[in-house]
């Protein structure tokens, strides 16, 4: 036993002694006995030819469910009993794209190359390029740390009034030198500079390698920006709930939504595909807040969309969809690929809200006891794959007939977790419990329902943004106590490649970076990104539990609810 202080020793013993007085519920033995007996029958049938009958019966059951209507409108337009969504629009909704990030067409564009790429290798401290400042133009300078095989974008700096903060000059010393061009940072070009050729010289620390882009408009690297996470401060007192924090490397987490003691949990944030809006679920404890997370399930549930400006500040809500007043779990939205819709599960319904009109359609799905996640938009935005016990329901959002795909042996009620579409929407990768044990596995099945194939033992499977790879965590099991690892594998199957993670970091949630070159690890130990391919060091965005007040975040129950902002711009 490890050492501890006598006082804590006494208190812990009192707690454990109290726990040991708790009797198991009487239902446990009954349920166990019943389960064993039915399980024995089931296994016997599955072991023989009659197993096919089980599958057939399951398919028949699913077919019956298909008789239900496929798409409904909210209560105002239908007989559905839930409350109407009642979207609330701010007086001045943020347009998309945000004009702050959109530059006017430059009249003398031919004078300026579309972009100038300056690679500053590690052995060379300085690189430079000569460009011509054009009338009414602004220059973007974006620099990124380069590893052997991966690129980590640290920040985008704009020479002009829309300077984007987030990366200090201590990370890379960027200087702009010209005849009369003011030095970086955050200076507006003067009229006298326009039309003149200037030399931009960029110096970097000798131990780093930076890739630097200079362009007339837009961040030329379409990649990632802020990271948002739902968490508590470790210093939170009784009654605190999840708030949303913005993270960037080398900076303390900044709370942007929520406050201490507001009694409202803001959870599962997710950036829109253009990175300019943030959707999240929120709720209030359904009773008196008398423990650190309130009373659950929660009430006053809503899905909220806010705009995000270039400084990482949220707007007032652009949209708030209120959910049924009955308590339930927090709804976690997911954006459609075109950024127009958000979808979220509400018990036995899948809600799809058009953020441009506020209208919502409801689709019947099966509720699961595994939370409100477990669904994914197809890449063409026409369908949503919904994980249900023992099956995946593919719901076309145009209201046509859903397809129900029994998965992994079609054992009714078996666990089916995260889902993701492969490139071209050819197949769905999902996680599920295996048939004979309790370990989780990653599987792939064609969108047609054919070729259900196990890919690997693991969990927390997440498909890469381009749909070509899947990342997952291998968990220790009773049979294979091999510890946790992060592995990526082609979604078509093949050799898994282990991703190096910080030693001792508890692995709980994985999130791909928008450029698919890094993975965010999020757990009670904090938020850290690691390179998928070797060659780049981990980047710490938030510490977990920390002895320094205000530094660490409590991510205990929001392990996977991290989102990485895509930053749109011209392709390279």
């Amino acid at each position: 036993m490890l050492d501890t202080e006598p006082e804590l020793d006494r208190k812990l013993r009192a707690l454990y002694d109290h726990i040991k007085t708790q009797d198991p519920p009487a239902t446990l033995a009954l349920i166990t006995t019943r389960t064993m007996r039915s399980d024995r029958k089931m296994l016997g049938r599955l072991a023989g030819v009659a197993g096919i009958a089980v599958i057939a019966a399951g398919v028949a059951l699913f077919a019956t469910e298909l008789q239900a209507h496929h798409m409904r409108t909210p209560p105002a337009q239908s007989t559905h009993t839930v409350s109407p969504p009642a979207p609330v629009w701010s007086p001045n909704p943020l347009p998309s794209p945000n004009p702050r990030l959109a530059l006017p067409t430059l009249p003398n564009r031919t004078l300026l190359p579309a972009s100038v790429r300056v690679l500053v290798p590690e052995t060379q401290g300085t690189g430079g390029a000569t460009v011509t400042i054009v009338p009414n133009g602004e220059l973007y300078v974006q620099y990124a740390c380069v590893g052997d095989t991966s690129l980590v974008v640290t920040a985008t700096h704009v020479l002009g009034p829309d300077l984007r903060p987030g990366c200090s000059s201590s990370v890379a010393d960027v200087k702009v030198v010209g005849t009369s061009l003011p030095a970086y940072p955050n200076q507006v070009l003067k009229a006298s500079d326009l039309g003149k050729p200037v030399t931009i010289t960029i110096s970097t620390a000798p131990s780093t390698t930076w890739e630097i882009f200079i362009a007339e408009s837009g961040p030329p690297i379409a990649t990632q920006g802020w990271i948002a996470v739902s968490a508590d401060p470790w210093t939170a007192g009784i009654g605190e709930h999840a708030d949303i924090y913005l993270l960037s490397a080398g900076a303390a987490p900044r709370r942007i939504i929520g406050s201490d003691g507001d009694g409202i949990a803001q959870d599962c944030p997710t950036f829109s595909p253009d990175g300019q809006r943030l959707a999240y679920g929120e709720a209030r404890a359904s009773g008196a807040t008398n423990n650190d997370r309130g009373v659950w399930p929660v009430s006053d549930r809503a899905v909220v969309v806010v705009g995000m400006d270039a400084y990482g500040d949220p707007s007032q809500p652009l949209m708030r969809v209120t959910l049924p007043t009955s308590p339930g779990e927090i709804a976690c939205p997911e954006w459609s690929p075109n950024g127009r819709y958000v979808a979220y599960r509400v018990g036995p319904d899948l809600w799809v809200t058009d953020t441009t009109t506020g209208t919502t359609n409801l689709f019947t799905v099966q509720a699961t006891p595994w939370g409100q996640n477990g669904f994914a938009w197809s890449r063409d935005g026409s369908r949503i794959a919904v994980a249900e016990p023992g099956q995946i329901r593919v719901v076309p959002i145009d209201g046509s007939t859903p397809t129900v795909i029994p998965v992994n042996g079609s054992v009714p009620g078996s666990y089916t977790g995260s889902v993701g579409w492969t490139a071209g929407d050819a197949a769905i990768v999902y996680e599920s419990a295996d048939l004979v044990g309790d370990s989780l596995g990653v599987y792939r099945i064609d969108a047609s329902g054919a070729n259900d194939t196990p890919l690997a033992a693991g969990n927390d499977a997440v498909v890469s943004p381009d749909g070509t790879r899947v990342a997952y965590i291998t968990d220790p099991s009773a049979d294979q106590p091999i510890g946790q690892h992060v592995v990526t594998m082609p979604t078509r199957g093949g050799k898994g490649v282990e991703v190096a993670v910080p030693p001792g970091f508890v692995l709980e949630g994985l999130t791909w970076s928008p450029d698919a070159k890094r993975l965010l690890l999020s757990s009670v130990d904090g938020v850290v990104s690691v390179a998928v391919a070797p060659g780049s060091a981990p980047v710490v965005y938030a510490a977990g539990q920390s002895p320094s007040p205000g530094v660490g975040l409590d991510l205990e129950w929001t392990w996977s609810e991290v989102t990485w902002q895509p930053v749109t711009g011209p392709s390279r």
Binding site: M1, I19, M36, V295, S523
Partner: protein
């Protein structure tokens, strides 16, 4: 003709009798009655499915403990949990008559619940059940160093929460 005992009877005699021990262990880690019940049920189900290979084992209790711990820390359980535990335990503690002791247990429990699941598992095994670090690591399926880290962080967190630092 030999008359071997029915598997159900042997199973119930050897395994189901361990239900209470497993339930208390799961409750110590999860601090949620429903989830503890699920973990024990799944442990027993796995034992039943593996009964032909484990029924003769001298290490059956340890096997059950290991499976139960892994159920408690598995992703499947975490997927189910999106909020805090119910308050029945607080109420039970509060009705025990000794109000000062009950209040202290409530405070300790509150700090304890703020630990991660794996921290709770490590503290429970190493501290609450007296397993060595190496034994705890074997039961949790991780390295002894990881157990030490979880225990150290967990206790440090509790000290901070309880103002014992």
């Amino acid at each position: 003709m030999t008359s071997e005992p029915l598997p159900e009877l042997a199973f119930e005699a050897l395994v189901a009798a361990d239900t209470r021990r497993l339930y208390v262990l799961a409750l110590s880690i999860l601090r949620d009655e429903g989830e503890a019940e699920d973990a024990v049920q799944e442990t027993l189900l796995k034992a039943w499915r593996s009964w032909p290979s484990i029924s003769e084992s001298d290490h059956l209790p340890r096997w059950l403990t290991r499976v139960c711990v892994n159920h408690c820390t598995s992703i499947r359980r975490r997927l189910r949990a999106r909020g805090g535990p119910p308050l029945e335990l607080f109420e039970t503690a509060g009705s025990s008559g000794d109000h000062s002791n009950a209040a202290e247990i409530i405070d300790v429990d509150r700090a304890y619940r703020r630990l991660s699941i794996r921290q709770r598992a490590a503290v429970t095994l190493n501290y609450g059940y007296g397993y060595s670090v190496e034994e705890s690591a074997d039961l949790m399926g991780c390295s002894p160093g990881t157990v030490r880290t979880h225990v150290a962080r967990g206790l440090a967190s509790m000290r901070k929460e309880l103002g014992d630092a």
